[in-house]
Symmetry: C2
Subunit: 349 residues, 2 copies
DNA sequence: ATTTAGCACTCTCGGCACGAGAGTGCTAAA
DNA sequence: TTTAGCACTCTCGTGCCGAGAGTGCTAAAT
């Protein structure tokens, strides 16, 4: 693998990737030598470029232009050059600091993560809220609003909260609702959907109806592939030249706005548990819309219990050497946040 | 006002606006006559065009191009031609139907509203969740997650729910937390921030600390200008020619992604209570970024209690005759949803 | 008093040729 | 193995030209 290329070829490939990601212009031999102070002549560089072109890592847009990395070129760069790179300490500190300041505001965590990712990578970012495949009932609250309208707030272990508005057949007093909530809380707390479904049917009509809705809601939660999706930094990506012309790239943005498509992408791209950082370059042949784009994805959280995803989306020509370490670091950070928050099933009371 | 223009001039202006919004091409006299089967010669139309150009409602991009509406032209069109127009029944039914299907899922209301607006107007939409300037305490819930970590869920009248994660000095059992929550609920329910602040200080340390956080949270809520912001349909607007070239338009999109800027825009554009539909054409000289764009805004909700905003954003050349009635209808619809949900202060228990 | 036909005029836009410049690949020398 | 030298190729900006679109004006028609 590694010996596929000589040390010097790797250097030249890396420099071309770097220069191209910055300028979006094909890179010529002369520019490479003078701009990066190589102790080589342009001719030598050109010879190496020919080799790299034959191996399939570079290509020429046309006869007399400089070289541009191919998808394979980017992939080589990602796997052999920057994949193990660490995020500089200054960046780690900045990020940790921002999260420290927002540590109380659970609702801010996801948008904050998206915002940081977008700023650091200068591309578009997405973060999904942590989501459990099988979560347990934690607490139910019934709040009478007006007449027959009741707001039902359901909290799950793991901190997921869902609201639902229901209309009863006839008006019910708040006292009655509170009593029902207390009863249901007693019998349901810490139970899974299946366990609740297996309970004997309630004799009280109100409790029975509510329980049906609770079950429906829990089921709906388990059907979902991911938690809520947070996006940021779309404008970063809009000013990139790739997105100004070819409608291809614009269709990719559509993929990101349409939540259902995005869910599908995430599900297919990251089937397995928490692991390393996934880099999808040019859609990898599977996504027509992502032909000119790249996505850097990672899963965070605690595998059996609650996980979410985060990622960065940008032109194929993205700053991988910055983005990949950032995504990895943020995934670790969110993982630790989740494990601090989550109600473990062992020490549950 | 009305007599500013003759009937025929109004017709021609309206047709030019309509044609231009559809094609994005300057409209010539010949096209106008044959395409809309006018019983006039092109020369007559041209004479009227000269008049409209002199009044400032039309302009020519260059000598031998057709006419394009000016900002004043659009404004005349909006105020005198389409402002009172009603949304066709079929559209009303489609929209009502979609809301009917989602009536239980409170969390879906806002994104659904944004999605419908975006589809109907074929532009970008924004909706802010209803937000009360002065809301009242409704219910507090304290949930132990792990060791010293506690998830605090605070529900306000009007249905706003906020979550906060707090770390206590020492671990506390769930029983203790529930007891504290019940005590606080008893003394705080239905009270405003000021009223709660005026209560005698709690002797219990835990209750005192929690109450401080509750107050901080309520204050933070009251500081905010609006509820959460939901966006949709940005991609609709991206494919418009205006946004492909001039960076101006792209900067406008940035305005929409940066929540703080957007808050400012909303606050300055819609200072007063629920009223008619506001149409901002070309930024009205106040927003440099919106020079080529228009925004159609409306406030919904119940003035003294909880209000939110909704709007549509697109190129100045937008389909006002469709957008304005849609925004008005949606504002009414959301208003009725809010008044069904909200806990009135009178019939509060 | 309007409306309309006719016409000259102006400006944009696409196509085309052309030269400058960038960057290459190859060969032959170091 | 590296490098200097050079011929070659292709893009891109510029300027020119003609076609076409749309106008404004004038004079005739209603």
């Amino acid at each position: 693998m590694m010996s596929d290329l000589t040390e010097r070829q790797r250097l030249i490939l890396a420099l071309i990737v770097r220069d191209y990601t910055e300028t979006a212009q094909p890179v010529g031999s002369a520019r490479l030598v003078e701009h990066y102070k190589l102790d080589l002549s342009t001719a030598t560089v050109r010879n190496e470029m020919v080799a790299l072109t034959e191996t399939g890592y570079l290509r020429q847009p046309h006869t007399s232009a400089g070289r541009v990395p191919t998808e394979e070129g980017y992939r080589y760069f990602v796997t052999h050059v920057v994949y193990q790179a660490d995020l500089p300490d200054t960046a780690r500190h900045t990020i940790s600091h921002q999260f420290y300041q927002a540590r109380q505001d659970v609702e801010q965590w996801m948008p904050l993560a998206a915002s940081i990712l977008a700023h650091q990578s200068k591309a578009a970012s997405l973060v999904t809220a942590p989501h459990a495949e099988r979560s347990r009932y934690k607490h139910l609250e019934l709040i009478s609003t007006q007449g027959r309208q009741v707001l039902m707030v359901l909290v799950m272990t793991g901190g997921e909260v869902s609201q639902q508005l229901l209309t009863l057949a006839e008006p019910v007093l708040q006292e009655r609702l509170s009593a029902a909530a207390i009863t249901l809380n007693t019998i349901c707390t810490a139970r899974t959907t299946e366990e609740i479904a297996a309970l004997p049917v309630r004799s009280d009509a109100l409790e029975k109806d509510i329980l049906t809705l609770v079950l429906a809601d829990m089921n709906r939660g388990e059907q979902r592939v991911s938690g809520e999706i947070y996006l940021d930094g779309l404008t970063n990506v809009l000013s990139e030249p790739e997105f100004l012309e070819s409608g291809d790239a614009r269709r990719a943005i559509h993929l990101f706005e349409e939540r259902s498509l995005l869910q599908d992408l995430l599900a297919r791209a990251m089937p397995n548990g928490v692991g390393g950082v996934q880099v999808l370059i040019g859609g990898e042949g599977k996504w027509e819309e992502l032909k000119q784009c790249s996505v850097v994805l990672a899963r965070y959280g605690i595998p059996g219990q609650a996980t979410g995803m985060l990622g960065v989306f940008g032109p194929m020509r993205m700053a991988y050497s910055r983005t990949i370490p950032t995504v990895r670091f943020m995934a670790d950070l969110l993982s630790s946040l989740v494990s601090e928050t989550i109600s473990g099933e062992e020490n549950e009371q």
